[in-house]
């Protein structure tokens, strides 16, 4: 069952950063590159924002003079560049074991089962996810259904043409929260209440102004230790305090506040800062073991798709340098 394949570079994650790295490595003349993606399509988070008539364009292409596009369009433009290379792409493929020193990975997918790979260098471009309710530290109470993350909201609205709520409360006031409010409004919901534990929205004024074209959400900064989710079966509101300040809703979206997907780094016992989960990287994006690199939103912070793409290219240059050094 176990056959061993060797690659010059294995990239984990086919979002903008991983694709950026793959394209740049290929342009630098590196042969035998493998790109591993666990979902069924490449493009990462942008690919979830489908192109729809009258829909909200949420991705700004700064390199093209700041034109807003749909995430899907951006993902497709990356795909077009990628298919011109001879990068080996594995979809629906999960990395399940890592031997760091040997730079050996075990992967599985529904077509080949479990396979082992080795590489001269590995780039982790695993992206990030939104913090769970508990990780945010100020959301307590009940655990009903219809408390969604933005990713789930996109899967429902864009992926399945379903509207998961009519009167949304959005937790998290960064760009993702305002984009979600616009998305919901266009899909048929009322203007959202955007709630965060800060006095002013984290989303910039210019960005908020952009989304006003579609929706006028109400921002509610809360100055309490915690709020409680209410609802025995489905989410029915948020209680601000014991005295009964209560905001009714029929669904909650938990938005933004990204944390790096560093579990593969932990699996390989590469150094990761806790509790922030940021992988420890030195100069040239090298992680705590030689030959292991990290790129894109996995590095931590909150970056747009295009930044990740260009960051992937920068990391690729660092990898090319690393590969050209005598061992």
């Amino acid at each position: 069952m176990d056959s061993t394949n060797h690659f010059r570079v294995v990239i984990i994650g086919a979002g903008p950063a991983g694709i950026g790295a793959a394209i740049a490595l290929s342009k630098h003349g590196i042969k035998s590159i493998a790109l591993i993606e666990r979902s069924d399509k490449i493009g990462g988070v942008p690919s979830l924002y489908k192109k729809k008539k009258g829909g909200v364009r949420t991705f700004i292409r700064w390199s093209r003079g700041g034109i807003p596009v749909f995430g899907e369009e951006y993902a497709n433009s990356l795909k077009r560049k990628l298919v011109k290379t001879d990068v080996k792409v594995w979809l629906q493929t999960q990395v399940i074991e890592i031997e760091t020193k040997e730079r050996k990975l075990s992967i599985i997918n529904p077509i080949e089962g479990k396979i082992s790979l080795t590489a001269d260098a590995v780039i982790m471009a695993c992206g990030s996810r939104e913090k769970t309710m508990s990780e945010r530290g100020w959301l307590t109470g009940a655990r009903p259904i219809r408390v969604f993350f933005t990713k789930q909201l996109l899967q429902l609205i864009d992926g399945n043409d379903l509207l998961p709520m009519r009167n949304p409360v959005i937790i998290g006031s960064d760009l993702i929260g305002y984009a979600a409010a616009a998305k919901l409004k266009v899909a048929g919901a009322a203007d959202a209440i955007i709630m965060d534990k800060c006095r002013r929205p984290k989303c910039s004024y210019v960005e908020r102004l952009y989304f006003r074209r579609w929706s006028q959400p109400n921002f509610r900064g809360v100055d309490v230790k915690a709020v409680e989710v209410v609802g025995s079966k489905t989410a029915s509101g948020i209680r601000l305090s014991k005295d009964g300040d209560f905001i009714p809703c029929d669904g909650i979206v938990v938005c933004g506040e990204l944390v790096p997907n560093s579990e593969l780094a932990l699996l390989g016992q590469l150094k990761v800062e806790l509790p922030s989960r940021k992988p420890v990287v030195g100069r040239n994006y090298q992680m705590s073991e030689s030959g292991w690199f990290s790129a894109g939103n996995m590095l931590g912070g909150f970056r747009g798709a295009e930044w990740c793409y260009y960051n992937g290219r920068r990391v690729a240059r660092a990898v090319v340098n690393y590969l050209s050094q005598p061992l």
Binding site: P110, R129, T140, N160
Partner: protein, 526 residues
């Protein structure tokens, strides 16, 4: 071979295959049940399992839409040795005996189980003095395989714990278990031995309670005949007992909140860490889970019966949990919390293990106050209940030689046996190579296996407890919708009708009943 029992749901909405819907008593046959068990928590499920070894017509019913959906799902998942139980109580007798039975039972039932041991840790002089008392009490409870340790020995066993440690006790047989699999395993075997299981069914009235054949009337007006009734309804038992004029008792639910830490944390701690108990409380524990996480908890908060917020979490208690648990293992504050939950202990003011035969009327048994030790005691408590039913309620026990007392090997949960590591399994079905839950590495194949299993799960939570999908660090960020899509595709139920825990908890609100905007807005935008 036995004919398996029937599994039916009362489900008056869309969102369930018609063949699983309970509409009419004829679906269960006309003959009265020898025994009806009301409440499919750990006690009800283990009783159904034990009784299914005999030639009896048995019904197990619950108002929820899966087994163990109330008290049993929210526990510390510890199999106690009973070292600190009240001496000479029924609880202590059952728990200490059961704890010795569990290692073998877990193998038979295919429930993941690990004898990780516990360390009771004294961190001040007062507590150090108490150690001897704890030790003596354990010996009185028959738990003699324990060891008093000095500070150095404790530190050798757990290098990461607090520097304040002054001494401790090692209790080697304190173990951890998959608490969800326990109820599921018992009831799956019961079902395959012929026990009928009815979900979504609340009993609102009992007629002819004084007669040989009693009539249980469900919320939907269906009458079920049974000769013996056992009330193991947990939080619902007080209300139920009123229907048959049982001896009054007070349910006194006690909430326990927990923090769950990400898996990396368990690399540092191997034992259950216990503080020295005080008269009031057992204190806050640090508990390794069989799934590979650490937990801290539980709190002990008394609630009025019927309070809706009983499984809510609160910030004050969660923060104090972290503070208390950090006194034992200071590194905990650096570990990311992935989730929090609150469970309920079903305490009874009249006493723990409050068991009544011929309660109100002949042939009715009430079991209350199985507070926090139900999973541990279940194998022996159920035996005890069977004896009581036979001796006092006249239940006729004739062994059914066809009955099985174990689950097949294929029942080991996927997260425990890792089916994708098995090349053979993959050749049979490529779905074992398709990972749906990235955090816990759960494949589509495992999810479909469960959807096709005999005790068919129909809700997202029921699937979650069987497969662990959605229980990892991202809490469903990546897999919740994919999981709902798989259920929808496999069962033919539209995606919007998939529920979290039964009717009323649908993924998507019913568009017809929404006043706001209606479908027009939706159509325009797509």
């Amino acid at each position: 071979m036995n004919t398996p029992g029937k599994l039916l749901y009362y489900w008056p909405h869309e969102g369930l295959d018609d063949s699983l819907k309970f509409n009419d008593i004829s679906q269960l046959g006309e003959n009265p049940y020898d025994i009806a068990i009301i409440g499919a928590g750990i006690v009800g499920c283990s009783l159904a399992y034990k009784l299914s070894m005999y030639k009896l017509k048995i019904l197990l019913l619950d108002k929820n839409y899966d087994v163990g959906e109330a008290t049993s799902k929210g526990s510390s998942a510890i199999i106690h040795t009973g070292f600190d139980a009240p001496v000479d109580s029924l609880e202590s007798t059952l728990v200490t005996k059961a704890s010795r039975e569990w290692p073998e039972l877990a193998k038979k039932l295919k429930i993941p189980f690990e004898e990780c041991g516990a360390l009771l840790i004294a961190i001040n002089d007062e507590q150090k003095k108490q150690l001897k008392n704890v030790y003596d009490k354990a010996v009185k409870n028959g738990v003699t395989d324990i060891q008093l340790l000095g500070a150095k020995q404790v530190r050798e066993l757990e290098p990461q714990i607090t520097d304040d440690v002054l001494g401790g006790i090692l209790i080697p047989r304190e173990s951890i278990i998959d608490p969800f699999s326990a109820s599921i395993a018992y009831s799956e075997i019961a079902l395959s031995n012929g026990v009928d299981i009815l979900f979504g069914t609340e009993i609102i009235e009992i007629e002819n309670a004084n007669e040989n054949i009693k009539k249980l009337i469900t919320g939907s007006g269906i009458k079920i005949n049974a000769k013996i009734i056992v009330n193991v309804a947990g939080l619902g038992s007080e209300q139920l007992a009123k229907l048959y004029n049982g001896e009054p008792f007070d349910t006194n639910p006690r909430r326990g909140q927990f923090l769950i830490f990400d898996k990396n944390s368990r690399l540092n701690i191997n034992h259950i860490l216990l503080p020295v108990p005080t008269k009031e409380t057992k204190g806050i524990l640090v508990i390794p889970t069989i799934f590979g996480n650490l937990m801290a908890g539980p709190t002990a908060e008394d609630f009025l019966h019927g309070d809706n917020s009983i499984t809510d979490t609160t910030i004050e208690k969660l923060q104090s949990l972290l503070d208390e648990a950090s006194k034992l293992y200071p590194g905990l504050k650096k570990q990311p919390v992935i989730s929090t939950f609150a469970g309920v202990r079903c305490n009874c003011s009249q006493g723990s293990y409050w068991i009544r035969c011929h309660d109100g009327h002949p042939g009715i048994m009430t079991v209350a106050g199985i507070r926090s030790t139900g999973i541990t005691s279940s194998p022996i408590l159920s035996e005890y209940l069977v004896e009581e039913l036979s001796n006092k309620c006249g239940l006729n026990l004739e062994i059914n030689t066809n009955a099985t007392d174990s689950r097949p090997k294929s029942s080991w949960p996927g997260w425990w046996k890792r089916p994708f590591a098995n090349g053979e399994l993959f050749k049979k079905c490529p779905d074992y190579g398709m990972i749906v839950c990235y955090c816990e590495q759960i494949s589509r194949g495992e999810i479909i296996d469960h959807l096709d299993s005999q005790l068919k799960p129909v809700t997202l939570d029921a699937i979650k407890r069987r497969t662990r999908a959605q229980m990892g660090r991202c809490q469903g960020f990546d897999c919740q919708i994919n999981l709902a899509e798989i259920i929808s595709e496999h069962s033919g139920i539209p995606l919007n009708k998939i529920t979290k825990r039964g009717p009323g908890s649908e993924l998507i609100p019913d568009t017809k009943t929404m006043k706001n905007k209606g479908m027009d807005g939706l159509n325009k935008s797509f």
